[in-house]
């Protein structure tokens, strides 16, 4: 009953977010929101650029890639030198080269995969440097989606916008204000926010002396969720009470991770002049999200097989790795939202989820992160699937397919196909490499099919820039640090560049007007077709791998490994 009410409130809150944050973002990126123009102008002056200086898609992509490379390098340098830099109350040493590289790539690509335990590895300055990327990386994802949207919205245009202007506006008007306000709520509920070091306390009742890690956690938590980042200050991530103290912050986290990906479908609809098209995409996202949530929530409401075998009955579901204040359903809601949005934060140990519960989380990523996907990345990935669906629809009715008045021809289909296929190829090839090498097989904690699932999960998560983990895997090895970084870079830029190219190609095309014979792309038929394309592509490519992992594990009744 509580869960039904939670879902109902979530739907209502998200509906408002979709409508108002969506139209606000359309206004921001259209340059119609100006209340912070007194900050905007000096930034443009320093960069020697401005809204009137629009770029071609190639210059836009060039700026995006160079800026990301600089961000990786800057983050890497801070991690390598943290022992010699200020804001290090615990006097932690420098981070090693392989781990620094993996972590820098991880936060710049919006993945937030963490091969380290934050409170025992990183200084406050390093955490703050990663927080910078928690703002910048979702902004980069959003502006990449913006280019694709402008591709549909503009006609016979060579320019797709200005990267620096879009980035600045996204940070100033969207991410910073929302993160700051919600950061206050996190702290009010109990999330820690201090620059003082760890606290040591003696409990006279039981004689225990504790040393408690602290830090600037609460505000990092806000942008961690809003930016679909997922990398927490503490090792236990959203399960740690200092990050996610109450049922309210848990709900707030779920809302934050879903808000931008959901609202962007309205922004898209507003910018292309047809909100119905945005609703169609939102419907695809909602169908996939609802199905995955139903699967994982139902699975986690069952007892853990090992606990049941030990003779303990449970009416409160699988309690292994879950916090009492959340319980099974609020845990499942949080992790499904997190894996369906490329966030990857966890409020429970997902390695200990039941086989089908874990399958639901894996599936959210394997579908390409479109349920509803990361900030920006969710929208553009789903638009790639929509282009594929339009292409298939066109084949069925024997006409040149069109989407939003743009003819979808060979170049567009090739670019969309490239964007859709790079992720499965990267993930499956790297998983094959990991299971065929001793260094890869040394990773898993668990034996049997679950050990394979841990490897598959790690490479799926990084290849989709998600960042959640079946955390039994020992990822801080040279092999996993380097292979993971390659996985994250391909999952980010090998998809983003074709997306930008597609935006540029589409913007140059002329608009063809709709006729009676045009295949409709804003009705339930199209929603069904796009959903089917997404599920079939994901299902066909990943079913064999899933069969060896969670499916086999589910079918191994009575066996323990």
């Amino acid at each position: 009953m509580d869960f039904a009410l939670t879902l109902l409130v979530l739907v209502v809150v998200l509906a408002f977010t979709w409508r108002y944050l969506g139209s606000y973002m359309a206004a921001v990126f259209g340059g119609r929101v100006r209340w912070l123009s007194w900050i905007e102008r000096p930034v443009y002056r320093m960069l020697a650029t401005g809204p009137e200086r629009e770029q071609s898609w190639k210059r836009y992509a060039g700026a995006l890639v160079v800026f990301s490379a600089v961000s990786i390098l800057a983050t890497y340098v801070v991690l390598r030198l943290q022992g010699h830099l200020p804001l290090n109350p615990q006097h932690l040493g420098d981070v090693g080269p392989a781990l620094s590289f993996n972590t820098a790539v991880s936060f710049v690509t919006n993945t937030d995969w963490q091969n380290y335990a934050g409170e025992a590895t990183l200084s406050y300055l390093s955490q703050i440097t990663l927080t910078v990327q928690q703002f910048v990386s979702p902004a980069v994802g959003i502006v990449a989606a913006l280019v694709l949207v402008r591709g549909f919205a503009r006609h016979q245009a060579s320019a797709v916008g200005n990267f620096w202007v879009d980035l600045t506006r996204c940070l100033l008007y969207v991410l910073l204000p929302i993160a700051f306000l919600t950061g206050i709520v996190f702290v009010a509920q109990g999330a820690v926010q201090t620059l003082a070091g760890p606290a040591t306390i003696h409990d006279a009742l039981n004689g225990v002396t504790q040393t408690i890690a602290r830090g600037p956690i609460g505000f990092m938590e806000a942008i961690k969720e809003l930016g679909t980042n997922g990398g927490g200050f503490l090792n236990a991530n959203g399960a740690a009470p200092f990050e996610n103290p109450t049922g309210l912050t848990n709900f707030l986290s779920v809302w934050l991770v879903l808000s931008i990906p959901v609202a962007l479908t309205y922004t898209f609809g507003a910018m292309v002049g047809s909100v119905r098209h945005g609703v169609a995409l939102l419907a695809v996202m909602a169908i996939l999200f609802g199905s995955l949530l139903a699967l994982t929530a139902a699975a986690e409401h069952q007892n853990n097989p090992a606990v049941a075998a030990a003779g303990v009955r449970s009416t409160v579901g699988n309690t292994v790795g879950k916090e009492v204040r959340f319980g099974d359903t609020a845990s499942a809601l949080y992790t499904v939202a997190s894996t369906g949005t490329s966030t990857g934060s966890v409020n429970s140990a997902i390695d200990s989820y039941t086989p089908l519960g874990g399958l639901g989380l894996l599936a959210g990523m394997m579908l390409g992160e479109v349920s509803p996907g990361g900030a920006g990345t969710g929208l553009y990935t789903l638009l790639l699937f929509a282009v594929m669906a339009v292409f298939l629809g066109g084949l069925m009715i024997g006409r040149t397919p069109e989407y939003l008045g743009k003819k979808i021809q060979a170049t567009e289909v090739k670019l969309a196909g490239l964007g859709v296929l790079i992720m499965p190829i990267t993930v499956l090839v790297l998983t094959a490499v990991a299971v065929s090498t001793a260094a890869g097989r040394a990773g898993p904690l668990n034996h049997g099919p679950h050990g394979f699932s841990e490897i598959l999960y790690a490479l799926t998560s990084q290849g989709n820039n998600n960042g959640s983990a079946f955390a039994g895997l020992s990822g801080n090895t040279p092999f996993y640090n380097v292979v993971g970084a390659i996985d994250m870079l391909l999952g980010r830029f090998a998809i983003m560049v074709p997306v930008l190219a597609l935006g540029g190609v589409l913007a140059r095309k002329e608009h063809v007007s709709q006729t009676l014979g045009t295949f409709r792309t804003d009705d339930s038929m199209f929603v069904g077709l796009t959903t089917a394309v997404t599920v079939i592509v994901g299902g066909l490519t990943f079913f064999p791998a899933l069969a060896l992992g969670p499916v086999l594990e589910q079918l191994s009744h009575g066996s323990f490994f």
């Binding site: 939670t6 320093m46 960069l47 060039g62 700026a63 160079v66 800026f67 490379a69 961000s71 025992a120 703050i128 910078v132 620096w164 980035l167 940070l171 910073l176 702290v187 009010a188 109990g190 820690v192 926010q193 201090t194 620059l195 003082a196 606290a199 306390i201 409990d203 009742l205 039981n206 504790q210 408690i212 942008i223 090792n235 009470p241 200092f242 309210l248 709900f251 090992a306 606990v307 003779g311 303990v312 009955r313 449970s314 699988n318 292994v320 790795g321 916090e323 009492v324 204040r325 609020a330 390695d351 086989p355 904690l445 668990n446 034996h447 699932s453 079946f470 955390a471 039994g472 490994f561």
Partner: protein, 203 residues
């Protein structure tokens, strides 16, 4: 290329100053002014309300087991996994989730050992929370039923009537937030602080 590079470096510096330093400093300032107690860790006289502690013996309510939990002293039944370094419970390097899979033999063995340990403590039917580890490894809470099954153990050790202990648990139970968010829970530290008061009055 060089234009991109020059702008990238300038933008990286601006972002570090605004999204990094300014955000962290302004956030910390606002937090310390508005919600100082929470911002510093919700720390009371005996510890943080948000960080679980070890409770040993039969005279206290126990929290959920973790790697450094009530059972760590017994090496034979030491709980597996939990190799994530974390400075909690005063011992670095031993907390976090176990990350054992649902068909893990180690998880099966650990759960059986925990059931036996609860039986030895005098808890006949330990609830699932009491034989499984949490996500953080230092869950500060237990569910009301987790507390109720420990009543006979605590009543026998302290001499306080079970009915008074059950009333104590009822007073310490927090319902779901706003009536529907999350699950009902009892904070083990405040429960034991209240128990200590009760014991002080009884003796």
């Amino acid at each position: 290329m060089w234009t991109h590079l020059r702008r990238s470096i300038a933008m990286a510096v601006i972002c570090f100053l605004v999204c990094g330093l300014l955000y962290a400093v302004a956030g910390t300032g606002a937090a310390q002014v508005l919600f100082a107690s929470q911002a510093n860790g919700s720390i009371g006289p005996n510890g943080s309300l948000l960080i679980g502690q070890n409770w040993t013996g039969r005279a206290w309510f126990h929290g959920r087991p973790d790697d450094m939990g009530p059972y760590a002293a017994n090496r034979a039944t030491h709980i597996s996994g939990g190799d994530n370094p974390l400075v909690a419970n005063g011992v670095p390097g031993a907390s976090g989730a176990t990350n054992l899979g649902p068909r893990s033999l180690a998880l099966l063995r650990d759960t059986r050992s925990l059931v036996i340990l609860w039986h030895r403590l005098g808890v006949a039917n330990p609830t699932p929370d009491l034989v499984t580890t949490s996500g953080s490894g230092y869950d500060p809470d237990i569910s009301p039923s987790d507390a109720l099954v420990q009543v006979p153990m605590v009543a026998k050790a302290t001499g306080i009537a079970p009915a008074r202990l059950r009333a104590l648990i009822a007073r310490q139970t927090h319902g779901p937030q706003w009536g529907f968010l999350g699950s009902p829970y009892v904070d083990v530290l405040t429960l034991n602080e209240a128990l200590a008061q009760l014991r002080g009055r009884s003796s």
